[in-house]
């Protein structure tokens, strides 16, 4: 099925959120609350646009049985974020692991 049906639903939800965010402007508010509310609306609109662009016509698609790159990317992200608490060296190791994972993922997708 085409993504248009889903796009209508998601866009409708964006309108609901926009109405509620707009209502906030009539009450006491601060910039963090307004920014957060309308950033959420913008995110939903972006999701609706992506949904509308998806055709649903996948044809013959290659579906992987396994992916070594995915857990390595996850491990790299873990190490990079741990660097924020444990030190730069952890983040650097994580960046190397993350890079290796991305390369592996790219190779998997071109098989």
């Amino acid at each position: 099925m085409s993504g248009r049906g889903g796009a209508y639903v998601v866009f409708g939800w964006a309108l609901l959120n926009a109405a509620l965010a707009g209502m906030l402007l009539g009450f006491r508010h601060n910039w963090v609350q307004v920014a957060g509310s309308f950033a959420a609306v913008a995110t939903v609109v972006a999701v609706a646009v992506l949904a509308a662009a998806s055709s649903g016509e996948a044809g013959r698609r290659y579906l992987p049985e396994a992916s070594g790159g995915a857990p390595i990317v996850a491990a790299g992200l873990v190490l990079v974020t741990l660097g924020a608490g444990l030190g730069l060296w952890v983040a650097l190791v994580g960046a190397v692991v993350l890079g290796a994972g991305v390369v592996l993922l790219a190779r998997e997708r071109t098989r």
Partner: protein, 536 residues
């Protein structure tokens, strides 16, 4: 649409666990990992209740208790209920919409690993010198800054939570893409099963609100390492705005999937279509939108939010919630009810969640909230929605879908015992906590004076917590007995209504080997049975 994948030989053992991309396998690994975190968080709960059973510090120190309640709440929310709710969707959304696989299976796999590793990182805080994170599951500033909660354990908590939330976003994005773009021919949005509708709005909330938590945690890490982010007159309030912008929708992320599955269970075990399907779809959308606009009710007592606005939006939540209850009751009336274990848990979900929901209306009123804010009343409120609510829905899903996942059944008699003990345990634990909170017992305290008169209610609540633990043991026994002495059931033991029951149990690698039935309603299998003349 045809799909293909080169399969040399089936993956087994640790290799399959680490790198297998089948959405069903990922979902089962995630659910199993989440259950392990549930047990760990549950042990912390039993320790906490053991400490509070009587006045005086009998089990741990105040600093130790701070770590226990912080890690208990964090584990249950970030590493158990949210992941297991998303795991249900990861397994069943592709099946229900007639897809061969989830969209972006590698992203799905990476997201699973982020959640598991995030949980392990957070728990590794217990191994550090200062212990695990101890600023509650909310890590409110300045309680969570480097002065008030020093040490590596808090940093590990921040990193672990951020990773798990990032992983949850990945899972949600995959399910959202599957629902939008991978539906079977004929399955328009208004023919989507109600569980898939619930997952759609759940995933929308995840992708729009969860980034706020990442931002909040990023700012907290910077602040703890010398860069003033939350300092200044509005700093602490800004943290709370960011955190609760995630923190309220997440409780609905932990609720909607179970509403969806319980409505499906009620329809199936009533032998009829869901009453008010379109109303339920609309109510889910409205409910989710409102959930994005009520976060300030957690901040009524700060004086930094518009109490009228957030009280209004919070009270409005009763309308879509009521619509869902009308749908459930309307489906039950006139149905041919079959009170098997999934149905018992689904009914228990709606009844017990009602207590949590009604107490939520109470705290949606600022003057009433001022009295019970940060008291055990609030603790009882959210445990009724989450444990006595959502976990009932989770067990309904487990008993309902276990035959589909394994091809075997869980024992009915043991399931009824599990249900009965769980009902007794949850009510015994949390009714006294309403009374304690109303009487003024604050939350997050390790001890209380004997002169407060809180001893009896605390003792009863502690006894109830052990009954809850017993019910979990009974469930594990049921799983073990069913695994060791399997009883094979057919592909559709419950006379299901949705597409997952049209395939074999367990489903094959790409979900459907037989042609799909035509999709002309949200209940395509029920339609097929009616046409064939064999429907109940």
């Amino acid at each position: 649409m045809s799909v293909t994948a080169p399969i040399d030989r089936p993956l087994r053992g640790f290799v399959a666990y680490a790198v297998g991309t089948d959405h069903k396998s990922v979902a089962l690994r995630l659910a199993g990992s989440a259950f392990a975190f549930f047990v760990a968080g549950g042990v912390l709960a039993l320790l906490m209740r053991s400490e509070l059973a009587a006045p005086g510090m009998q089990v741990t120190s105040r600093a130790g208790y701070d770590q226990w309640f912080s890690m208990h709440g964090s584990t249950m929310i970030y590493f158990f209920v949210t992941p297991v709710a998303l795991a249900l969707g990861t397994y069943f959304v592709p099946l229900q919409v007639g897809a061969a696989e989830i969209a972006a299976p590698r992203v799905n796999l990476a997201s699973f690993w982020l959640i598991v590793l995030g949980g392990l990182v957070a728990w590794s805080g217990f191994l550090t010198h200062g212990g695990a994170g101890s600023a509650a599951w909310t890590a409110e500033f300045p309680m969570s800054d480097a002065i008030n909660t020093p040490g590596t354990g808090m940093d590990l908590w921040i990193v672990g939570v951020a990773l798990a939330v990032l992983g949850s976003m990945g899972l949600a994005a995959c399910q959202l893409a599957t629902i939008v773009a991978r539906r079977a021919p004929g399955m328009t949005m208004l023919r989507l099963p109600v569980f898939s509708w619930a997952m759609l709005v759940t995933c929308l909330m995840v992708v729009t609100s969860f980034p706020a938590l990442i931002v909040a945690m990023g700012g907290l890490v910077l602040d703890r390492h010398g860069i003033d982010v939350y300092s200044g007159a509005f700093g602490a309030s800004a943290y709370q705005d960011l955190f609760w912008f995630y923190g309220h929708p997440v409780v609905y992320v932990m609720f909607f999937p179970f509403v969806g599955v319980c409505l499906e269970v009620i329809a199936t075990f009533s032998g009829r279509r869901l009453f008010g399907y379109r109303g339920v779809a609309l109510s889910l959308l409205v409910f989710a939108a409102l959930s994005m606009s009520v976060w300030g009710h957690h901040m009524f007592t700060t004086g930094q939010v518009s109490n009228p606005y957030f009280s209004l939006t919070s009270t409005l939540l009763a309308i879509p919630a009521g619509m869902e209850y009308v749908a459930a009751i309307g489906t039950l009336i006139g149905g041919a009810l079959v009170l098997r274990t999934p149905m018992l848990f689904a009914l228990g979900f709606f009844l017990q969640f009602l207590i949590g929901g009604l107490s939520g209306i109470y705290v949606a009123s600022p003057p009433l909230d001022y009295h019970v804010h940060d008291s055990y009343f609030v603790v009882a409120h959210f445990h009724y929605t989450l444990l006595a609510g959502s976990v009932f829905g989770l067990f309904a899903a487990v008993y309902y879908w276990w035959p589909k996942v394994t091809g075997h059944e869980l024992r009915e008699r043991i399931g009824r015992v599990h249900f009965g003990i769980f009902v007794i345990g949850t009510n015994l634990t949390f009714i006294p906590q309403f009374l304690l909170g109303y009487d003024g017992m604050p939350r997050r305290v390790a001890d209380y004076a004997a002169s407060t008169g809180w001893t009896t209610d605390n003792a009863i609540s502690t006894a109830g917590s052990y009954v809850v633990a017993l019910s979990v043991v009974v469930f594990v026994v049921n799983v073990a007995v069913s695994w060791l002495l399997p009883r094979r059931v057919g592909d559709d033991p419950w006379d299901g209504q949705t597409l997952e029951w049209a395939t074999s149990s367990p489903p094959p690698r790409f979900n459907f080997e037989r042609p799909l039935p035509p999709v002309r309603s949200p209940q395509p299998l029920l339609d097929r049975k009616l046409i064939a003349g064999g429907a109940p």
